[in-house]
Subunit: 459 residues, 2 copies
Amino acid sequence: MATERLVVVGGDAAGMSAASQARRLKGPEQMEIVVFERSPFTSYSACGIPYWVGGVVGSAEELIARTPQEHRERGIDLRLRTEVTRLDVARRRVQAQDLVSGTKTWTRYDRLVIATGARPVRPPLPGIDARGIHGVQSLEDGRSLLDTLETTAGRRAVVVGAGYIGVEMAEALKLRGFEVTVLHQGEQPMATLDPDMGGLVHSAMSRMGIAVIGGAAATGFATTQGGRVRSVTTRESEYPADVVVLGMGVEPRTGLARAAGLPLGAAGGLLTDRSMRVRGHQDIWAGGDCVEVLELVSGRERHIPLGTHANKHGQVIGANVGGGYATFPGVVGTAVSKVCDLEIARTGLREKDARASGLQFVTATVESTNTAGYYPGAATMTVKMLAERRTGRLLGVQIVGAEGAAKRVDIAAVALTAGMTVEQMVALDLGYAPPFSPVWDPVLVAARKAVTAVRAAGV
Amino acid sequence: MATERLVVVGGDAAGMSAASQARRLKGPEQMEIVVFERSPFTSYSACGIPYWVGGVVGSAEELIARTPQEHRERGIDLRLRTEVTRLDVARRRVQAQDLVSGTKTWTRYDRLVIATGARPVRPPLPGIDARGIHGVQSLEDGRSLLDTLETTAGRRAVVVGAGYIGVEMAEALKLRGFEVTVLHQGEQPMATLDPDMGGLVHSAMSRMGIAVIGGAAATGFATTQGGRVRSVTTRESEYPADVVVLGMGVEPRTGLARAAGLPLGAAGGLLTDRSMRVRGHQDIWAGGDCVEVLELVSGRERHIPLGTHANKHGQVIGANVGGGYATFPGVVGTAVSKVCDLEIARTGLREKDARASGLQFVTATVESTNTAGYYPGAATMTVKMLAERRTGRLLGVQIVGAEGAAKRVDIAAVALTAGMTVEQMVALDLGYAPPFSPVWDPVLVAARKAVTAVRAAGV
């Protein structure tokens, strides 16, 4: 039997999951698997970097799920520090450069997987390349930031951006003993939430002693004569900084794909079909942070870079390139995070997403305890629910609060997937015992209020 | 307008929820609401009693959600210490006895709600009425048990029964400094789980220093000359005891309903329709621990006495008797509990339930961490999943393990309600961040394994 060659571009979550799954289905005599990875690492948890920086996790090694050696032992030809520099779709080949020697070579493929991930947004602001300004995308970034934290005498840290990375890094820097200021452009931090819920995050962070400044777009960075960052400037102010962390979001890393003429969506991510095959290309698959995914509630494609999706994509791709069959049905937009003791969760649509999707809706916001009210340590969470007008279909849930807030959003994630109405949710048979929930779970309390709002809104 | 009279028999969760909800919909000029309650209390959390006994909750008052005075201020004619002794359905009236004066009086109703709750199983074993032997059904029971714990010099406690109450009381007694032995009849504790999962509970309790003895049905109680309990006897052995707690389950308290000729199910609970109306009786509703509920996975009626169901029943009944419309669709059998740090959860069918329902199935059991493996304090949970052969429909989930185990069962509860297959579950968009979950949530890991098992079982 002829051996076919699978080439995988990018050796993190999606790429290595795809390679591993394909290898499970096809042995080395049937399929050669070559993976090109720019960095010296594979299969690490980028989501874990804030916890490593914060000292919660002891070392970078702990973030590595599977070492290059383990992958090679499974018969995967893994080429680290090797960057793919061109895709030649017509001739089914990729050009890769050995970043150590500089040598470029072409490799033919029968099947190709693109898993090039995402790139942190890094606007060309004056001074952005000064020492002491750090991204936190890769293990190298984390190491470099830790070096700065350990060698800097000053204790003032500024985080630019108040999304997941921003708030997690605010916690990490606080744990390292820094005074932390978070600057962000919007009305409230956590723009993945509605502003009213983001406001709760703002208040909680303020109580933790983290300064959160909204409407503050960074315009540049002032530096010392030695070329170190000294402050972050905005149009109206200047924030002294001994260290700066950039958490300004990421964008799909699809330059190669664009140059090769592969189809990209509005957010710049690769567009795939349900089997994660690049649209119009029989032998090319793509997954992870470089693709757009179908968001099931609005029915639109969105760029939602999350490790959990990347792993699922990899499994689906691996099954398909390995001769099996699997599909990825889409996402509902679930994400959870925390800053110190505050848990933050969302799924489905925010108010502005619903509007942009042509959906009319009602909202219900409730505050409830995470355990029976009399149980010691009972603390509150706020649950906001969006339901479609007329049908009462659940559109989205946001939860901010104490322990137990984050993973409660899973209830809504499953309900969204199933297309439930808020009325159906009221009757959900959720786990109840005093240490775990009030007799009406906070999500059910919100659903009850949403039912009333749907009725009040009429048809 | 003529005032109609609603009579409610039983003033705990279901009864008072029904009364309160009816009052919201109809004012005192439209509907008189009379509630008869045997005890001096209303609306208290019986589920909280183990935590009060364990000293986790400071006082019985904290367990009372709403006081009699609060109910009365809302226009509910609440008659405490008054026991309904007869239902006269033909003449639409109830006979009630004032337990203080002994006086019996008849009260006519237009609409009747039966919420008589459940009664602890208390077999007529020799010595069962000895001092030092306690149930934990009511606040009076809790007070009496606490008195015994405070005045007993000995430190040996025996719990008879290893269901939810049994394991929770084991924890409570341990917290009070007792040496605890739990006796139960079955192969493993927690018979609401399959024996393999119950075995995990057994091992964990043993590691906590709680002796758990299976196959040990109590046959009687030896007493001191003073009439205090001295030991629990079984067919094969004798267990010294300074205090005994009975946790042998409960049965629907439906003697009145039976005498009145109302329809009862196989477990002795009242049978209702979807609106919680007693079958065949236009003006009588029933809810809470005295009814059987439709269990949606097997399609059978079962007696599942839980406060969370009782509250929902009360809401539904109150809406209907108040002139609105609401239904209770049924349950999927979700229950959660804990013993010390061990969390225990179940939903849907056990293996034996599936067999009894004519369902063929596969099982998948996995062990996974509750957070990212590298996150400090990561601890394990075991997830067992049952899926129907051929269709792959989810049938049940059981989870035993560390923090985060219990409420994860909600994911499965919603999936069961929606009739999802395990294949659909693999793609669920659940919350992921290192402090809350590994990148594949434990429930998804189990679903992946279940998919493989379904395929392997063929058609």
